[in-house]
Protein backbone atom coordinates (compact mmCIF):
# COMPACT_ATOMS: atom_id res chain seq x y z
CA UNK A 1 0.00 0.00 0.00
CA UNK A 2 1.57 3.30 -1.00
CA UNK A 3 1.86 5.80 1.74
CA UNK A 4 1.33 8.65 -0.62
CA UNK A 5 -0.88 7.93 -3.58
CA UNK A 6 0.75 8.67 -6.87
CA UNK A 7 -0.45 11.84 -8.34
CA UNK A 8 -1.86 11.67 -11.82
CA UNK A 9 -0.87 14.69 -13.89
CA UNK A 10 -3.23 17.51 -13.36
CA UNK A 11 -4.66 16.04 -10.14
CA UNK A 12 -4.69 18.37 -7.15
CA UNK A 13 -2.29 17.43 -4.38
CA UNK A 14 -4.96 17.52 -1.69
CA UNK A 15 -7.02 14.70 -3.11
CA UNK A 16 -3.96 12.52 -3.61
CA UNK A 17 -3.05 13.02 0.01
CA UNK A 18 -6.62 12.34 1.01
CA UNK A 19 -6.52 9.07 -0.87
CA UNK A 20 -3.33 8.10 0.91
CA UNK A 21 -4.80 9.05 4.26
CA UNK A 22 -7.95 7.08 3.47
CA UNK A 23 -5.92 3.99 2.73
CA UNK A 24 -4.12 4.28 6.06
CA UNK A 25 -7.37 4.65 7.98
CA UNK A 26 -8.82 1.57 6.33
CA UNK A 27 -5.71 -0.46 7.04
CA UNK A 28 -5.72 0.63 10.68
CA UNK A 29 -9.36 -0.22 11.15
CA UNK A 30 -8.86 -3.63 9.59
CA UNK A 31 -5.87 -4.32 11.81
CA UNK A 32 -7.69 -3.35 14.98
CA UNK A 33 -10.62 -5.51 14.03
CA UNK A 34 -8.45 -8.52 13.27
CA UNK A 35 -6.56 -8.02 16.50
CA UNK A 36 -9.82 -7.89 18.38
CA UNK A 37 -10.71 -11.32 17.12
CA UNK A 38 -7.31 -12.96 17.16
CA UNK A 39 -5.94 -11.66 20.47
CA UNK A 40 -8.40 -13.30 22.89
CA UNK A 41 -8.23 -16.64 21.09
CA UNK A 42 -4.45 -16.57 20.77
CA UNK A 43 -4.13 -15.48 24.39
CA UNK A 44 -6.31 -18.29 25.61
CA UNK A 45 -4.47 -20.92 23.63
CA UNK A 46 -1.12 -19.50 24.68
CA UNK A 47 -1.94 -19.49 28.39
CA UNK A 48 -3.62 -22.85 28.59
CA UNK A 49 -3.02 -24.74 25.40
CA UNK A 50 -0.20 -27.02 26.38
CA UNK A 51 -1.47 -27.69 29.85
CA UNK A 52 -4.86 -28.45 28.49
CA UNK A 53 -3.68 -30.77 25.76
CA UNK A 54 -1.24 -32.49 28.07
CA UNK A 55 -3.91 -32.98 30.68
CA UNK A 56 -6.37 -34.30 28.14
CA UNK A 57 -5.16 -37.80 28.74
CA UNK A 58 -6.06 -37.63 32.41
CA UNK A 59 -9.15 -35.50 32.11
CA UNK A 60 -11.77 -38.12 31.44
CA UNK A 61 -14.61 -35.70 31.87
CA UNK A 62 -13.27 -33.32 29.24
CA UNK A 63 -12.61 -36.14 26.80
CA UNK A 64 -16.07 -37.53 27.27
CA UNK A 65 -17.52 -34.08 26.81
CA UNK A 66 -15.64 -33.56 23.55
CA UNK A 67 -16.82 -36.91 22.24
CA UNK A 68 -20.39 -36.10 23.25
CA UNK A 69 -20.23 -32.70 21.61
CA UNK A 70 -18.84 -34.09 18.37
CA UNK A 71 -21.37 -36.91 18.35
CA UNK A 72 -24.45 -34.77 19.00
CA UNK A 73 -23.32 -32.12 16.56
CA UNK A 74 -22.88 -34.78 13.91
CA UNK A 75 -26.32 -36.24 14.57
CA UNK A 76 -27.85 -32.78 14.45
CA UNK A 77 -26.01 -32.02 11.22
CA UNK A 78 -27.15 -35.24 9.58
CA UNK A 79 -30.75 -34.49 10.54
CA UNK A 80 -30.35 -30.94 9.35
CA UNK A 81 -28.98 -32.03 6.00
CA UNK A 82 -31.72 -34.58 5.47
CA UNK A 83 -34.50 -32.21 6.42
CA UNK A 84 -32.98 -28.99 5.17
CA UNK A 85 -31.77 -29.98 1.71
CA UNK A 86 -35.24 -30.31 0.16
CA UNK A 87 -36.29 -27.03 1.75
CA UNK A 88 -33.17 -25.31 0.46
CA UNK A 89 -33.78 -26.72 -3.00
CA UNK A 90 -37.38 -25.53 -3.05
CA UNK A 91 -36.40 -22.10 -1.86
CA UNK A 92 -33.75 -21.90 -4.54
CA UNK A 93 -35.79 -23.16 -7.45
CA UNK A 94 -39.49 -22.59 -6.95
CA UNK A 95 -40.81 -19.07 -6.76
CA UNK A 96 -43.91 -19.79 -4.74
CA UNK A 97 -46.02 -17.24 -3.00
CA UNK A 98 -44.85 -16.74 0.56
CA UNK A 99 -41.34 -17.82 -0.29
CA UNK A 100 -39.90 -14.77 1.41
CA UNK A 101 -41.99 -15.49 4.48
CA UNK A 102 -40.82 -19.09 4.68
CA UNK A 103 -37.21 -17.97 4.33
CA UNK A 104 -37.71 -15.42 7.11
CA UNK A 105 -39.24 -18.03 9.40
CA UNK A 106 -36.35 -20.38 8.78
CA UNK A 107 -33.95 -17.60 9.74
CA UNK A 108 -35.83 -16.87 12.95
CA UNK A 109 -33.74 -19.09 15.26
CA UNK A 110 -30.71 -17.06 14.25
CA UNK A 111 -32.02 -13.88 15.83
CA UNK A 112 -33.76 -15.37 18.88
CA UNK A 113 -31.67 -15.14 22.08
CA UNK A 114 -30.37 -18.61 22.75
CA UNK A 115 -31.96 -19.28 26.14
CA UNK A 116 -35.25 -18.16 24.64
CA UNK A 117 -34.81 -20.78 21.96
CA UNK A 118 -34.25 -23.40 24.66
CA UNK A 119 -37.36 -22.33 26.51
CA UNK A 120 -39.37 -22.36 23.31
CA UNK A 121 -38.24 -25.92 22.62
CA UNK A 122 -39.12 -26.95 26.14
CA UNK A 123 -42.59 -25.54 25.73
CA UNK A 124 -43.17 -27.63 22.62
CA UNK A 125 -41.22 -30.79 23.31
CA UNK A 126 -41.51 -30.98 27.07
CA UNK A 127 -43.15 -33.90 28.78
CA UNK A 128 -46.16 -31.85 29.78
CA UNK A 129 -47.13 -30.89 26.24
CA UNK A 130 -49.21 -33.07 23.93
CA UNK A 131 -46.44 -33.57 21.40
CA UNK A 132 -43.81 -33.97 24.07
CA UNK A 133 -45.92 -36.48 25.96
CA UNK A 134 -46.05 -38.61 22.83
CA UNK A 135 -42.27 -38.40 22.53
CA UNK A 136 -41.91 -39.30 26.18
CA UNK A 137 -44.16 -42.29 25.79
CA UNK A 138 -41.99 -43.39 22.88
CA UNK A 139 -39.00 -43.22 25.18
CA UNK A 140 -37.61 -39.93 23.89
CA UNK A 141 -36.84 -37.51 26.70
CA UNK A 142 -35.89 -34.03 25.74
CA UNK A 143 -34.47 -32.81 29.06
CA UNK A 144 -31.27 -34.17 30.47
CA UNK A 145 -30.70 -36.27 27.39
CA UNK A 146 -28.80 -36.50 24.16
CA UNK A 147 -32.10 -36.00 22.37
CA UNK A 148 -32.41 -32.61 24.01
CA UNK A 149 -28.90 -31.62 23.02
CA UNK A 150 -29.51 -32.63 19.43
CA UNK A 151 -32.82 -30.74 19.34
CA UNK A 152 -31.25 -27.56 20.66
CA UNK A 153 -28.30 -27.81 18.26
CA UNK A 154 -30.58 -28.54 15.34
CA UNK A 155 -32.85 -25.62 16.13
CA UNK A 156 -30.13 -22.99 16.30
CA UNK A 157 -27.86 -24.22 13.52
CA UNK A 158 -30.18 -25.64 10.86
CA UNK A 159 -31.00 -22.17 9.48
CA UNK A 160 -27.34 -21.72 8.65
CA UNK A 161 -27.37 -24.91 6.63
CA UNK A 162 -30.55 -24.05 4.77
CA UNK A 163 -29.26 -20.59 3.88
CA UNK A 164 -25.95 -21.85 2.61
CA UNK A 165 -27.43 -24.86 0.83
CA UNK A 166 -29.93 -22.58 -0.87
CA UNK A 167 -27.08 -20.44 -2.16
CA UNK A 168 -25.29 -23.54 -3.37
CA UNK A 169 -28.33 -24.65 -5.35
CA UNK A 170 -29.06 -21.19 -6.66
CA UNK A 171 -25.57 -20.97 -8.07
CA UNK A 172 -26.30 -23.90 -10.36
CA UNK A 173 -28.12 -22.82 -13.49
CA UNK A 174 -31.45 -24.61 -13.64
CA UNK A 175 -30.85 -25.24 -17.30
CA UNK A 176 -28.49 -28.05 -16.42
CA UNK A 177 -31.45 -29.80 -14.86
CA UNK A 178 -33.63 -28.91 -17.85
CA UNK A 179 -31.10 -30.48 -20.18
CA UNK A 180 -30.99 -33.60 -18.05
CA UNK A 181 -34.78 -33.79 -18.18
CA UNK A 182 -34.75 -33.60 -21.97
CA UNK A 183 -32.19 -36.38 -21.95
CA UNK A 184 -34.65 -38.69 -20.25
CA UNK A 185 -34.21 -38.10 -16.51
CA UNK A 186 -37.20 -37.57 -14.29
CA UNK A 187 -36.95 -34.81 -11.72
CA UNK A 188 -35.43 -36.95 -9.00
CA UNK A 189 -32.87 -38.54 -11.31
CA UNK A 190 -31.84 -35.20 -12.71
CA UNK A 191 -31.41 -33.93 -9.17
CA UNK A 192 -29.36 -36.92 -8.20
CA UNK A 193 -27.13 -37.10 -11.26
CA UNK A 194 -26.66 -33.42 -12.03
CA UNK A 195 -27.72 -31.01 -9.30
CA UNK A 196 -26.32 -32.88 -6.32
CA UNK A 197 -22.85 -33.50 -7.75
CA UNK A 198 -22.61 -29.90 -8.89
CA UNK A 199 -23.84 -28.56 -5.57
CA UNK A 200 -21.93 -31.15 -3.56
CA UNK A 201 -19.07 -28.96 -2.52
CA UNK A 202 -21.36 -26.12 -1.50
CA UNK A 203 -23.58 -28.46 0.48
CA UNK A 204 -20.59 -29.95 2.27
CA UNK A 205 -19.36 -26.50 3.20
CA UNK A 206 -22.84 -25.66 4.44
CA UNK A 207 -22.90 -28.78 6.60
CA UNK A 208 -19.52 -27.93 8.06
CA UNK A 209 -20.74 -24.46 8.95
CA UNK A 210 -23.76 -26.01 10.64
CA UNK A 211 -21.56 -28.43 12.57
CA UNK A 212 -19.31 -25.62 13.71
CA UNK A 213 -22.31 -23.65 14.96
CA UNK A 214 -23.74 -26.69 16.71
CA UNK A 215 -20.63 -27.42 18.74
CA UNK A 216 -20.47 -23.86 19.98
CA UNK A 217 -24.05 -23.58 21.20
CA UNK A 218 -24.60 -23.03 24.93
CA UNK A 219 -27.70 -21.07 25.90
CA UNK A 220 -30.30 -23.24 24.22
CA UNK A 221 -28.66 -26.52 25.19
CA UNK A 222 -28.21 -25.73 28.87
CA UNK A 223 -31.92 -25.10 29.30
CA UNK A 224 -32.75 -28.56 28.04
CA UNK A 225 -29.76 -30.61 29.07
CA UNK A 226 -27.24 -29.78 31.75
CA UNK A 227 -26.06 -33.33 32.26
CA UNK A 228 -24.55 -34.90 30.20
CA UNK A 229 -22.41 -31.84 29.62
CA UNK A 230 -21.39 -30.75 26.19
CA UNK A 231 -18.11 -28.90 25.82
CA UNK A 232 -19.61 -25.43 26.15
CA UNK A 233 -21.55 -26.33 29.30
CA UNK A 234 -18.49 -28.03 30.75
CA UNK A 235 -16.27 -25.00 30.22
CA UNK A 236 -18.84 -22.75 31.90
CA UNK A 237 -19.15 -25.25 34.70
CA UNK A 238 -15.38 -25.44 35.20
CA UNK A 239 -15.24 -21.70 35.36
CA UNK A 240 -17.98 -21.36 37.91
CA UNK A 241 -16.84 -24.15 40.18
CA UNK A 242 -13.06 -23.95 40.02
CA UNK A 243 -12.36 -20.54 38.64
CA UNK A 244 -10.09 -19.39 35.85
CA UNK A 245 -7.15 -21.59 36.69
CA UNK A 246 -9.31 -24.66 36.40
CA UNK A 247 -11.14 -23.49 33.33
CA UNK A 248 -8.38 -22.16 31.11
CA UNK A 249 -6.79 -25.46 30.10
CA UNK A 250 -10.17 -26.90 29.21
CA UNK A 251 -11.17 -23.74 27.38
CA UNK A 252 -7.95 -23.76 25.36
CA UNK A 253 -8.55 -27.34 24.29
CA UNK A 254 -12.07 -26.44 23.28
CA UNK A 255 -10.86 -23.54 21.16
CA UNK A 256 -8.47 -25.85 19.34
CA UNK A 257 -11.33 -28.29 18.90
CA UNK A 258 -13.49 -25.56 17.42
CA UNK A 259 -10.83 -24.85 14.82
CA UNK A 260 -11.46 -28.24 13.21
CA UNK A 261 -14.45 -27.15 11.11
CA UNK A 262 -12.59 -24.07 9.98
CA UNK A 263 -9.66 -26.17 8.85
CA UNK A 264 -12.01 -28.48 7.01
CA UNK A 265 -13.62 -25.56 5.23
CA UNK A 266 -10.24 -24.23 4.20
CA UNK A 267 -9.30 -27.62 2.83
CA UNK A 268 -12.49 -27.72 0.79
CA UNK A 269 -11.83 -24.31 -0.73
CA UNK A 270 -8.24 -25.13 -1.48
CA UNK A 271 -9.41 -28.29 -3.17
CA UNK A 272 -11.84 -26.35 -5.26
CA UNK A 273 -9.27 -23.89 -6.43
CA UNK A 274 -7.04 -26.69 -7.60
CA UNK A 275 -9.90 -28.05 -9.61
CA UNK A 276 -10.67 -31.12 -7.56
Amino acid sequence: MPLAAERAPGMPASSAAARGAGAIVVALAASVFLLFIVAPVAGLVASGGWRGLAGLGADRELRASLVLTAFTATVATVLGVIGGTPVAYLLARRAFRGRALVAAIIDLPLVIPHPVAGIALLLVLGRATPFGAALYAAGLRVTGSITGIVCAMLFVSAPLYVSAAREAFARIDSRYESVARTLGDDAWRAFRRVTLPLAGRGLTAAAIVMWGRAISEFGAIVILTYNPKVASVLSYDRFTSTGLSGAVPAAAVLVLFALLPLVALRALRMDERQGR
Binding site: D59, E61, L62, D107, L110, V111, L122, L123, G126, R127, A128, T129, R141, T143, G144, S145, S163, A164, R166, E167, A168, G202, A206, V222, T225, Y226, N227, P228, D237, R238, F239, T240, S241, T242, G243, L244, G246, A250
Partner: protein, 330 residues
Protein backbone atom coordinates in the same frame (compact mmCIF):
# COMPACT_ATOMS: atom_id res chain seq x y z
CA UNK B 1 -22.67 -19.30 0.47
CA UNK B 2 -19.78 -16.90 0.38
CA UNK B 3 -19.01 -15.50 3.78
CA UNK B 4 -19.51 -11.96 2.67
CA UNK B 5 -22.90 -12.74 1.20
CA UNK B 6 -23.85 -14.51 4.41
CA UNK B 7 -22.71 -11.61 6.56
CA UNK B 8 -24.49 -9.14 4.37
CA UNK B 9 -27.73 -11.06 4.62
CA UNK B 10 -27.56 -11.20 8.42
CA UNK B 11 -26.30 -7.69 9.05
CA UNK B 12 -29.64 -6.01 8.54
CA UNK B 13 -31.75 -7.97 11.05
CA UNK B 14 -28.99 -8.04 13.65
CA UNK B 15 -28.34 -4.32 13.29
CA UNK B 16 -32.02 -3.62 13.67
CA UNK B 17 -32.23 -5.88 16.70
CA UNK B 18 -29.27 -4.27 18.43
CA UNK B 19 -30.52 -0.79 17.61
CA UNK B 20 -33.96 -1.57 19.01
CA UNK B 21 -32.50 -3.08 22.17
CA UNK B 22 -30.23 -0.11 22.66
CA UNK B 23 -33.09 2.30 22.09
CA UNK B 24 -35.31 0.48 24.57
CA UNK B 25 -32.54 0.48 27.16
CA UNK B 26 -31.89 4.16 26.61
CA UNK B 27 -35.54 5.08 26.88
CA UNK B 28 -35.90 2.94 29.97
CA UNK B 29 -32.90 4.53 31.61
CA UNK B 30 -34.12 7.99 30.79
CA UNK B 31 -37.60 7.37 32.06
CA UNK B 32 -36.64 6.79 35.69
CA UNK B 33 -37.99 9.62 37.79
CA UNK B 34 -35.19 11.72 39.19
CA UNK B 35 -35.26 12.38 42.92
CA UNK B 36 -36.71 15.64 44.01
CA UNK B 37 -34.01 16.10 46.59
CA UNK B 38 -30.47 17.32 46.00
CA UNK B 39 -28.95 14.00 47.09
CA UNK B 40 -27.68 11.74 44.30
CA UNK B 41 -29.61 8.54 43.59
CA UNK B 42 -28.24 5.40 45.19
CA UNK B 43 -27.02 2.67 42.88
CA UNK B 44 -26.66 -0.68 44.59
CA UNK B 45 -25.23 -3.81 42.97
CA UNK B 46 -26.53 -6.92 44.74
CA UNK B 47 -25.53 -10.55 44.26
CA UNK B 48 -28.37 -12.79 45.42
CA UNK B 49 -28.39 -16.55 45.91
CA UNK B 50 -30.76 -18.14 43.41
CA UNK B 51 -33.12 -19.42 46.07
CA UNK B 52 -33.56 -15.91 47.45
CA UNK B 53 -34.04 -14.15 44.13
CA UNK B 54 -37.76 -14.50 43.89
CA UNK B 55 -38.69 -13.58 47.47
CA UNK B 56 -36.40 -10.55 47.43
CA UNK B 57 -37.89 -9.12 44.26
CA UNK B 58 -40.87 -7.35 45.84
CA UNK B 59 -38.75 -6.15 48.75
CA UNK B 60 -36.22 -4.59 46.40
CA UNK B 61 -39.00 -3.06 44.34
CA UNK B 62 -40.53 -1.46 47.39
CA UNK B 63 -37.14 -0.11 48.50
CA UNK B 64 -36.55 1.34 45.04
CA UNK B 65 -39.89 3.00 44.94
CA UNK B 66 -39.42 4.51 48.39
CA UNK B 67 -35.87 5.77 48.07
CA UNK B 68 -35.49 6.07 44.28
CA UNK B 69 -32.47 3.82 44.55
CA UNK B 70 -31.45 1.78 41.54
CA UNK B 71 -30.88 -1.86 42.50
CA UNK B 72 -28.96 -4.00 40.05
CA UNK B 73 -29.52 -7.54 41.19
CA UNK B 74 -27.76 -10.61 39.82
CA UNK B 75 -28.68 -14.06 40.97
CA UNK B 76 -27.07 -17.44 40.65
CA UNK B 77 -25.70 -20.35 42.63
CA UNK B 78 -23.67 -19.28 45.65
CA UNK B 79 -20.37 -20.52 44.27
CA UNK B 80 -21.03 -18.84 40.92
CA UNK B 81 -21.55 -15.53 42.66
CA UNK B 82 -18.40 -15.97 44.70
CA UNK B 83 -16.46 -16.74 41.53
CA UNK B 84 -17.62 -13.52 40.00
CA UNK B 85 -15.85 -11.71 42.79
CA UNK B 86 -12.70 -13.79 42.93
CA UNK B 87 -12.16 -14.42 39.21
CA UNK B 88 -13.91 -11.64 37.41
CA UNK B 89 -13.23 -9.00 40.07
CA UNK B 90 -16.74 -7.74 39.90
CA UNK B 91 -17.45 -6.49 43.40
CA UNK B 92 -21.06 -6.00 44.47
CA UNK B 93 -22.27 -3.66 47.18
CA UNK B 94 -24.16 -6.41 48.96
CA UNK B 95 -23.97 -10.17 48.64
CA UNK B 96 -26.47 -12.68 49.98
CA UNK B 97 -25.58 -16.37 49.84
CA UNK B 98 -27.36 -19.56 50.71
CA UNK B 99 -24.23 -21.01 52.29
CA UNK B 100 -22.29 -19.04 54.91
CA UNK B 101 -19.31 -21.37 54.49
CA UNK B 102 -18.60 -19.83 51.10
CA UNK B 103 -17.49 -16.66 52.90
CA UNK B 104 -14.60 -18.16 54.85
CA UNK B 105 -13.85 -20.69 52.11
CA UNK B 106 -13.60 -18.43 49.11
CA UNK B 107 -14.03 -14.80 50.02
CA UNK B 108 -12.22 -14.18 53.31
CA UNK B 109 -10.05 -12.32 54.10
CA UNK B 110 -9.33 -10.65 50.77
CA UNK B 111 -12.79 -9.61 49.72
CA UNK B 112 -14.84 -9.91 52.89
CA UNK B 113 -13.99 -9.61 56.56
CA UNK B 114 -17.34 -10.34 58.19
CA UNK B 115 -20.66 -11.97 57.42
CA UNK B 116 -24.06 -12.03 59.05
CA UNK B 117 -26.40 -14.99 59.09
CA UNK B 118 -29.96 -13.71 58.75
CA UNK B 119 -32.30 -16.48 57.70
CA UNK B 120 -32.92 -20.17 57.96
CA UNK B 121 -34.20 -22.69 55.49
CA UNK B 122 -34.99 -26.36 55.30
CA UNK B 123 -34.91 -29.04 52.66
CA UNK B 124 -38.23 -30.24 51.37
CA UNK B 125 -39.53 -32.39 48.56
CA UNK B 126 -41.44 -30.03 46.28
CA UNK B 127 -44.07 -30.98 43.72
CA UNK B 128 -47.11 -29.68 41.82
CA UNK B 129 -50.61 -30.90 41.25
CA UNK B 130 -49.46 -32.39 37.94
CA UNK B 131 -46.74 -34.52 39.50
CA UNK B 132 -47.18 -38.24 39.35
CA UNK B 133 -48.66 -39.66 42.56
CA UNK B 134 -49.15 -36.14 43.88
CA UNK B 135 -52.29 -37.27 45.69
CA UNK B 136 -50.43 -40.10 47.39
CA UNK B 137 -47.20 -38.60 48.61
CA UNK B 138 -46.90 -37.89 52.34
CA UNK B 139 -44.19 -37.55 55.01
CA UNK B 140 -44.48 -41.24 55.74
CA UNK B 141 -43.95 -42.55 52.20
CA UNK B 142 -42.03 -39.88 50.26
CA UNK B 143 -38.86 -41.93 50.10
CA UNK B 144 -40.73 -44.72 48.34
CA UNK B 145 -42.80 -42.59 46.00
CA UNK B 146 -39.75 -40.77 44.64
CA UNK B 147 -38.04 -44.05 43.89
CA UNK B 148 -40.83 -45.37 41.69
CA UNK B 149 -39.54 -46.05 38.18
CA UNK B 150 -41.92 -43.76 36.32
CA UNK B 151 -41.20 -40.74 38.49
CA UNK B 152 -38.73 -38.01 37.46
CA UNK B 153 -36.88 -36.41 40.35
CA UNK B 154 -34.53 -33.44 40.09
CA UNK B 155 -31.84 -31.86 42.24
CA UNK B 156 -29.14 -29.22 41.99
CA UNK B 157 -25.46 -29.69 41.18
CA UNK B 158 -23.51 -30.45 44.37
CA UNK B 159 -20.28 -28.98 42.98
CA UNK B 160 -21.79 -25.56 42.51
CA UNK B 161 -24.89 -25.03 44.62
CA UNK B 162 -25.25 -25.57 48.36
CA UNK B 163 -28.70 -26.97 47.75
CA UNK B 164 -27.00 -29.72 45.77
CA UNK B 165 -24.72 -31.10 48.43
CA UNK B 166 -27.28 -30.42 51.14
CA UNK B 167 -29.59 -32.77 49.27
CA UNK B 168 -26.92 -35.46 49.42
CA UNK B 169 -26.43 -34.87 53.14
CA UNK B 170 -30.15 -35.11 53.63
CA UNK B 171 -30.09 -38.49 51.89
CA UNK B 172 -27.46 -39.67 54.39
CA UNK B 173 -29.44 -38.41 57.33
CA UNK B 174 -32.60 -40.03 55.99
CA UNK B 175 -30.87 -43.39 55.66
CA UNK B 176 -29.92 -43.25 59.33
CA UNK B 177 -33.20 -41.79 60.51
CA UNK B 178 -35.44 -44.29 58.81
CA UNK B 179 -33.07 -47.17 59.52
CA UNK B 180 -32.88 -48.19 55.91
CA UNK B 181 -29.45 -49.32 54.78
CA UNK B 182 -28.69 -48.28 51.21
CA UNK B 183 -31.44 -45.67 51.12
CA UNK B 184 -29.03 -42.83 50.39
CA UNK B 185 -27.61 -44.49 47.28
CA UNK B 186 -31.05 -45.52 46.17
CA UNK B 187 -32.39 -41.99 46.50
CA UNK B 188 -29.38 -40.69 44.61
CA UNK B 189 -29.95 -43.19 41.83
CA UNK B 190 -33.55 -42.08 41.48
CA UNK B 191 -32.44 -38.48 40.87
CA UNK B 192 -29.84 -39.18 38.19
CA UNK B 193 -27.30 -36.87 36.59
CA UNK B 194 -29.54 -35.93 33.75
CA UNK B 195 -32.02 -34.36 36.15
CA UNK B 196 -29.36 -32.21 37.75
CA UNK B 197 -29.35 -28.45 37.17
CA UNK B 198 -26.80 -25.81 38.10
CA UNK B 199 -28.99 -23.94 40.54
CA UNK B 200 -32.18 -24.00 42.50
CA UNK B 201 -34.15 -21.89 40.06
CA UNK B 202 -33.25 -24.29 37.26
CA UNK B 203 -34.88 -27.25 38.96
CA UNK B 204 -37.81 -25.12 39.96
CA UNK B 205 -38.34 -24.12 36.34
CA UNK B 206 -38.34 -27.73 35.20
CA UNK B 207 -40.82 -28.68 37.90
CA UNK B 208 -43.09 -25.84 36.87
CA UNK B 209 -42.80 -26.87 33.23
CA UNK B 210 -43.84 -30.40 34.06
CA UNK B 211 -40.54 -31.98 33.10
CA UNK B 212 -39.95 -33.17 36.65
CA UNK B 213 -42.36 -34.62 39.18
CA UNK B 214 -40.39 -33.89 42.37
CA UNK B 215 -37.42 -31.77 43.26
CA UNK B 216 -35.31 -31.49 46.35
CA UNK B 217 -35.17 -27.84 47.19
CA UNK B 218 -35.50 -25.25 49.90
CA UNK B 219 -38.84 -24.64 51.51
CA UNK B 220 -38.58 -20.95 50.62
CA UNK B 221 -38.20 -21.78 46.94
CA UNK B 222 -41.10 -24.19 47.03
CA UNK B 223 -43.35 -21.69 48.74
CA UNK B 224 -42.46 -18.70 46.64
CA UNK B 225 -43.05 -20.71 43.48
CA UNK B 226 -46.35 -21.92 44.74
CA UNK B 227 -45.30 -25.56 44.82
CA UNK B 228 -46.70 -28.05 47.24
CA UNK B 229 -44.15 -29.81 49.38
CA UNK B 230 -43.61 -32.66 51.76
CA UNK B 231 -42.23 -31.48 55.10
CA UNK B 232 -39.32 -33.66 56.13
CA UNK B 233 -38.49 -34.62 59.71
CA UNK B 234 -36.44 -31.97 61.52
CA UNK B 235 -33.72 -34.54 62.04
CA UNK B 236 -32.96 -34.67 58.37
CA UNK B 237 -34.08 -31.37 56.84
CA UNK B 238 -31.09 -29.29 58.06
CA UNK B 239 -33.46 -26.63 59.33
CA UNK B 240 -32.95 -26.72 63.09
CA UNK B 241 -29.81 -25.06 64.49
CA UNK B 242 -30.14 -27.01 67.73
CA UNK B 243 -29.60 -30.25 65.84
CA UNK B 244 -26.31 -29.06 64.36
CA UNK B 245 -24.28 -31.84 65.96
CA UNK B 246 -26.60 -34.44 64.57
CA UNK B 247 -26.39 -32.93 61.14
CA UNK B 248 -22.63 -32.99 61.37
CA UNK B 249 -22.57 -36.77 61.57
CA UNK B 250 -23.46 -36.91 57.89
CA UNK B 251 -20.65 -36.35 55.45
CA UNK B 252 -20.58 -36.39 51.70
CA UNK B 253 -17.72 -36.26 49.29
CA UNK B 254 -18.21 -33.84 46.45
CA UNK B 255 -16.07 -34.26 43.40
CA UNK B 256 -14.05 -31.33 42.28
CA UNK B 257 -14.64 -30.98 38.52
CA UNK B 258 -11.60 -31.29 36.31
CA UNK B 259 -9.85 -33.72 38.57
CA UNK B 260 -10.64 -36.81 40.57
CA UNK B 261 -10.09 -35.18 43.94
CA UNK B 262 -13.03 -34.89 46.27
CA UNK B 263 -13.82 -32.61 49.14
CA UNK B 264 -15.58 -33.76 52.26
CA UNK B 265 -18.49 -31.65 53.42
CA UNK B 266 -20.25 -32.21 56.72
CA UNK B 267 -23.89 -31.43 57.43
CA UNK B 268 -24.76 -28.06 58.88
CA UNK B 269 -27.99 -26.24 59.54
CA UNK B 270 -28.99 -24.16 56.53
CA UNK B 271 -28.35 -20.49 57.05
CA UNK B 272 -28.42 -17.57 54.70
CA UNK B 273 -25.69 -15.01 55.21
CA UNK B 274 -24.92 -11.59 53.80
CA UNK B 275 -21.91 -9.35 53.61
CA UNK B 276 -20.63 -6.11 52.13
CA UNK B 277 -17.30 -6.68 50.35
CA UNK B 278 -14.31 -4.61 51.29
CA UNK B 279 -13.98 -2.81 47.98
CA UNK B 280 -17.64 -2.36 47.24
CA UNK B 281 -18.09 0.58 44.82
CA UNK B 282 -21.09 1.95 46.70
CA UNK B 283 -20.51 0.62 50.21
CA UNK B 284 -22.67 3.26 51.89
CA UNK B 285 -25.58 2.48 49.59
CA UNK B 286 -25.03 -1.21 50.32
CA UNK B 287 -25.19 -0.57 54.04
CA UNK B 288 -28.40 1.41 53.61
CA UNK B 289 -30.03 -1.44 51.72
CA UNK B 290 -28.78 -3.97 54.27
CA UNK B 291 -30.28 -1.95 57.12
CA UNK B 292 -33.55 -1.84 55.30
CA UNK B 293 -33.54 -5.59 54.72
CA UNK B 294 -32.96 -6.23 58.38
CA UNK B 295 -35.54 -3.70 59.56
CA UNK B 296 -38.70 -5.06 61.24
CA UNK B 297 -40.87 -4.01 58.32
CA UNK B 298 -38.70 -5.83 55.80
CA UNK B 299 -38.38 -8.86 58.04
CA UNK B 300 -42.15 -9.05 58.16
CA UNK B 301 -42.35 -8.72 54.42
CA UNK B 302 -39.73 -11.37 53.84
CA UNK B 303 -41.43 -13.75 56.22
CA UNK B 304 -44.56 -13.21 54.15
CA UNK B 305 -42.48 -14.22 51.15
CA UNK B 306 -41.66 -17.45 52.94
CA UNK B 307 -38.12 -16.56 53.97
CA UNK B 308 -37.53 -17.83 57.47
CA UNK B 309 -35.78 -14.74 58.84
CA UNK B 310 -33.88 -14.94 62.11
CA UNK B 311 -35.08 -12.55 64.78
CA UNK B 312 -31.56 -11.17 65.03
CA UNK B 313 -28.67 -11.64 62.63
CA UNK B 314 -25.70 -13.65 63.88
CA UNK B 315 -22.45 -11.95 62.95
CA UNK B 316 -19.12 -13.70 62.37
CA UNK B 317 -15.72 -12.32 61.39
CA UNK B 318 -14.24 -8.93 62.23
CA UNK B 319 -15.17 -5.29 61.75
CA UNK B 320 -18.83 -5.56 60.95
CA UNK B 321 -20.46 -2.23 60.14
CA UNK B 322 -22.21 -0.12 62.74
CA UNK B 323 -25.68 -0.80 61.30
CA UNK B 324 -25.31 -4.45 62.15
CA UNK B 325 -24.36 -3.81 65.72
CA UNK B 326 -27.64 -1.92 66.02
CA UNK B 327 -29.66 -4.70 64.39
CA UNK B 328 -28.24 -7.37 66.60
CA UNK B 329 -29.23 -5.22 69.49
CA UNK B 330 -25.87 -5.32 71.15
Amino acid sequence: MSRSAFVRSKVAPITVGVAVAAAVAAVHACSRPSPSGAAARDTVVVFVAASLAKPLQPVFAAYSARTHAVIQAESGASVVLARRITELHRIPDLILLADPEVFPELLMPRHVTWYAQFARNRMVVAYTANSRYAAEIAPANWMDVVRRPDVQVGRTDPAIAPAGYRTLIMFQLAQRFYHRPGLADSLLASAPERNVRPDASGTAALLAAGELDYIYDYQSVAESNGFQFVALPREIDLGDPSLASEYATAQVRVRRPGSDTTVAIAGQPIRYALSIPENAPHAAAGRRLMSDLLSPAAVRELRAEHVDMLDHPIVAGSNPPAELRDATGG
